[in-house]
Each structure stands twice: as structure tokens, then as C-alpha cells.
């Protein structure tokens, strides 16, 4: 990392992503700044608020019609916003991994899932086939997949939604990355399996000092799992909160999201979000987007 005693893994300053479309430009991410330490940083916000595009831009995975601009995206002495493609390829996967939002589409549909994981393991470690196979089984057991010996022989369309997510998580953890960007990694998991998968990510942060960016629309989960949380709307960070204080948030947007949640005990119609045009105005430097 960038030096002893410095626990900042990633420093994102004024990141923007703009897409060209036939109907004019779309500003997906607008001047986002935050730092990531050896912690669990949540990103929440409504659909289309720029959560995934923020994660993708860090890794240079923005679609071709998009342009990234940033003062800097600092990682281990590099500026990822300005680095060469070759250097980026070395970072991507090996040092910063990303679990994509729709896992079954990130897997190769015509290769059995066990083979895909084993191949990824071999590429990263140079291990032989039988070692890779043994580690594959071990990892799938760790993410609590039942009957692993059968599951390794299935094709991606033959596994359930939640199994696909766990397979992707197992794959992304293989290289033991410095940073993991997990985009809705547990949305298809039942709550008990989710708890176990989160415990694995938690261990990676606490024991190995990984930095975790956890993108999720599950506000209760982020409040209980993360250390800090960025709340995004219209491509900007509306506010940054201690995750434990998410339920005490005062920003009307964050409050609006919290009010939409169904609860076990209330059967009335749910509140829906009333959007305020003022939330789209630039938040401004030094504002809540400072991310400290």
C-alpha cells in the first residue's frame, strides 16, 4: 500500500461518468468523492442513481459510449483514471475484484460452473488441475452450497438464482484482492445463507484488511453490516453516514427511502418516494460528498 500507517486503500476525487446517447448526454455519475479504508463501505440509493456506474468506472469497465473524468482515483500509488490499459488489466481481478449485479450473465453459459472456478484459480495461482479442483470444492462449501460434487457439473442456467450469486462470490475471492466491489451480491440469497456469505466478506475485511464496497438496496442490511454508507441520488452522493446511524438519517431522500420499507407488522399500503427537484442540484465541493 501507499505507506506504513496509511490505511486509505482507494481515494476517489470528483469522479464523473457521462454517456453519449442518441437522445443527448446522460450524466450517470456527477462529481463523486470518497475514500475507502480497510472497512465495509456501503453504497445505497434508488435505481439509476449511479451506484453500479461508480463501481465500474473505478475499474475502467464503463461502456464504450461513456466517458470518465476525475481529479484522481488513487490506488497503490497509481491514478486509475489515467493509467495504461495494461496496468489496469493487472489491477482488475487480481487486486480489485468486482462482483457484477447479474451474476448468471457474468458466467460463461457453455462451461460447467466447477470448471470455470477451477480455471480462474489456475490462472491466478498456477496450481495444477487436481489442486484447482480440490480448492473449487472447498470454496463452494465455504459459501454453503449443498451437494457441491453435483453442482460443479451443472451449467450456469441449471443453478438457482442464489447459487449463481454464491458461485460468483467464490470466484472473486480466489485472488485474495485488496479491494472487492460487490454489486448487490446477496440480493438472491435467503437471509440465513446471506448471513453466512456476509460473514466470509467480514472476515476478509477484518482478518486480511481488504476494503469492501458493498452496493445494495437493502437499507436494513447495510445499516447492520457496513461501517459507513454513501447515499446516492441522481449520480451524486447526497450524504455519508455511519452505517449504524442510517436509520437516524435526516436528509429527506434517505428518510423517503427508509419509509418505503415494508415491515413485518404493518399491512398498510407502503409510502412511495416523493422526489424533490432540488436534490438534483450540484451538491458542491466540501459538501456532504466529502466522504470522510
Amino acid at each position: 500500500m501507499s505507506g506504513a500507517g496509511d490505511d486509505t486503500l482507494l481515494d476517489v476525487k470528483n469522479l464523473s461518468v457521462r454517456f453519449q446517447t442518441t437522445k443527448g448526454p446522460v450524466e450517470a455519475v456527477r462529481g463523486v468523492s470518497f475514500t475507502l479504508g480497510r472497512e465495509r463501505l456501503g453504497i445505497v440509493g434508488e435505481s439509476g442513481s449511479g451506484k453500479s456506474q461508480t463501481g465500474r468506472a473505478i475499474l475502467g469497465l464503463t461502456a464504450k459510449n461513456g466517458r470518465i473524468s476525475a481529479d484522481h482515483v488513487r490506488f497503490d500509488g497509481m491514478d486509475l483514471a489515467r493509467t495504461t490499459d495494461q496496468a489496469m488489466r493487472k489491477v482488475r481481478g487480481a487486486r480489485i475484484s468486482m462482483i457484477m449485479q447479474d451474476p448468471r450473465y457474468s458466467l460463461n453459459p457453455v462451461i460447467r460452473v466447477g470448471e470455470q472456478i477451477a480455471e480462474a484459480y489456475r490462472v491466478h495461482t498456477g496450481a495444477n488441475r487436481s489442486e484447482a479442483r480440490r480448492r473449487t470444492i472447498e470454496m463452494l462449501n465455504r459459501v454453503r452450497i449443498r451437494e457441491v460434487e453435483k453442482v460443479v457439473n451443472l451449467y450456469p442456467h441449471e443453478v438457482s438464482g442464489g447459487m449463481g450469486q454464491r458461485i460468483m462470490i467464490a470466484m472473486m475471492l480466489i485472488p485474495d484482492p485488496d479491494i472487492l466491489i460487490a454489486d448487490e451480491p446477496t440480493s438472491a440469497l435467503d437471509v440465513t445463507v446471506q448471513l453466512q456469505v456476509l460473514a466470509i466478506l467480514d472476515d476478509m475485511v477484518r482478518e486480511r484488511g481488504m476494503g469492501l464496497i458493498f452496493i445494495s438496496h437493502d437499507l436494513n442490511l447495510v445499516a447492520s453490516f457496513c461501517d459507513r454508507v454513501l447515499v446516492m441520488y441522481g449520480g451524486q452522493i447526497m450524504e455519508t453516514l455511519d452505517a449504524g446511524k442510517l436509520h437516524e438519517a435526516e436528509h429527506p431522500y434517505t428518510r423517503g427511502l427508509l419509509n418505503c420499507l415494508p415491515t413485518l407488522n404493518d399491512a398498510r399500503d407502503l409510502a412511495v418516494l416523493e422526489r424533490d427537484p432540488a436534490w438534483l442540484e450540484p451538491v458542491g465541493a466540501g459538501g456532504p460528498g466529502g466522504g470522510q
Partner: protein, 258 residues
């Protein structure tokens, strides 16, 4: 309205056979909303897919609206039952416009007056006529899911099978869709089977629920008992505990049921 008796579904044969559903039974009354909750991979989607006629290799009995189901289904069957799939990205044809997507079930069932019906269906799910000629990739995830629901609703089926209809959506869109589904059910006396991992969503939408684990139903209970935190089975108790949020100690102490 729906009776499922000793349903089994097995994929593959021999040593590689996956016994996805291992003899489950439940009934759903007309106008009732029934929840299906359980471990990831426990067979929830497989149950719905067998019921919807997407999988012919099932055993046991299934009866819908008094009609015993066979391995194949007549076209008319789909006028009484429609399914909304777990995956909002994969279930809409990428090169068809919304108009094509919503018009298809009308063509299949030879229902006329398609323009009015398509506009009505869009309106029901809270989308204006300006969305009619867009392609799926030009919509947000929540809008795509609303199209999937509109496609199921457009032929007014009395039964809807809903597989995680909101798990890919943010909470504000989820609230809109859950309100919509409740309103439609009240107005048209629809019967729902709803699969969800979110116990609050199930409590909000359903009257009763079945808890699945490893291909079996371990318990059926009313939503009142769920709310009172009074389930019988230890797996359901564990689900309720886990639904309170992340808790390292709870993660350590989870049991594994077979």
C-alpha cells in the same frame, strides 16, 4: 383454486440426479395470496415452473381451478395462470419493443383490441404511453420488472405466480410494485403464489406461507404467527432471527437442516 399433492421434481439421473423437490403438498384458496419462502436452492422456482408447465418431468398431483394438470398444457391453461419470472433482465426479448412484448400474449390467445389493452396494461403498472415503443434496455430495472408484470396481467389471468418480483428492485420501486399487486388482487380477486426471501414482503402481501428447505416444506403457517414470532420449526425460527440484519454471532451459530 390450487392443489399440489406430493409434488416431486428430479433433474438428471443416476449419481448426478438433483432431487430439487422432494414431495411437497399445499393448497391455495381462490383470492388467497400464498407465500413460498426458504433456503436458496430449496426448489421454490422449480415448484412454480412445474406448475406453469415449463418442466414436464414432475411427479405427484397438481390441480388448478378444478382441472388436474397433465404433462402438457393446452393454450387455454395460460389464460388462467401466468408467471412473472425471478430474473427481470433475462425475461424480456431484447430486440422486441414493449408494444411487441405486451402484444404477444394477446396474439397467442387471439384477443382483439390490442391497442387499448396495451395502453391499459401500461397504465395499470404506472407507465405512460411514451414507453410503448421503447426497447427493454431503454428502461430501468424497475420499469422492466413492471413490463414483466404487465405482460402477465394483460390477459387478466385469475392466478399469478410471482417469483421474487421485487428482489432486484430498489425500495422505492418495490413499494410501488407491491402496492400495485395488492390493488390488483383486491380489485380482481386474484390468487397469488409469491416467492420471496424478504419476510417483511411476504408478511405484507400474503395470508399464509410455506417454508421450504432442501426440497421439502418444513412448515406452513399464517402470517399472524410469523408476525408473532411463533413458528414451530427451528429452521423458520432461524430465518426470523437472520432477517433482523447482520449479526456475526448469529452467523456463527446457524444450523444446517437436511
Amino acid at each position: 383454486m390450487i392443489e399440489v399433492g406430493d409434488l416431486t421434481v428430479t433433474f438428471g439421473t443416476g449419481a448426478r440426479a438433483v432431487r430439487a423437490v422432494r414431495g411437497i403438498s399445499f393448497t391455495v384458496a381462490e383470492g388467497e395470496s400464498f407465500g413460498l419462502v426458504g433456503e436458496s436452492g430449496s426448489g421454490k422456482s422449480t415448484v412454480l415452473r412445474a406448475m406453469a408447465g415449463l418442466n414436464r418431468d414432475w411427479g405427484g398431483r397438481m390441480t388448478v381451478a378444478g382441472q388436474p394438470l397433465g404433462k402438457t398444457r393446452a393454450r387455454a391453461f395460460y389464460r388462467s395462470l401466468q408467471m412473472v419470472f425471478q430474473d427481470p433482465f433475462g425475461s424480456l426479448h431484447p430486440r422486441h419493443t414493449i408494444n411487441d412484448i405486451l402484444g404477444e400474449p394477446l396474439k397467442i390467445h387471439v384477443i382483439g383490441d390490442s391497442e387499448t389493452r396495451i395502453l391499459n396494461a401500461l397504465d395499470e403498472v404506472g407507465l405512460g404511453p411514451e414507453y410503448r415503443f421503447r426497447f427493454p434496455h431503454q428502461l430501468s430495472g424497475g420499469q422492466r420488472q413492471r413490463i414483466a408484470i404487465a405482460r402477465a396481467l394483460i390477459i387478466n389471468p385469475p392466478i399469478m405466480l410471482l417469483d421474487e418480483p421485487t428482489s432486484a428492485l430498489d425500495v422505492s420501486v418495490q413499494a410501488e410494485i407491491l402496492n400495485l399487486l395488492r390493488r390488483l388482487r383486491n380489485e380482481h380477486r386474484l390468487t397469488y403464489i409469491l416467492v420471496s426471501h424478504d419476510l417483511s414482503v411476504v408478511a405484507h402481501m400474503c395470508d399464509r406461507l410455506a417454508i421450504m428447505n432442501a426440497g421439502r416444506v418444513v412448515e406452513q403457517l399464517s402470517v399472524e404467527r410469523l408476525r408473532a414470532h411463533e413458528p414451530d420449526h427451528p429452521y423458520t425460527k432461524q430465518l426470523l432471527r437472520a432477517s433482523l440484519g447482520y449479526d456475526r454471532a448469529a452467523a456463527e451459530n446457524l444450523e444446517w437442516f437436511d
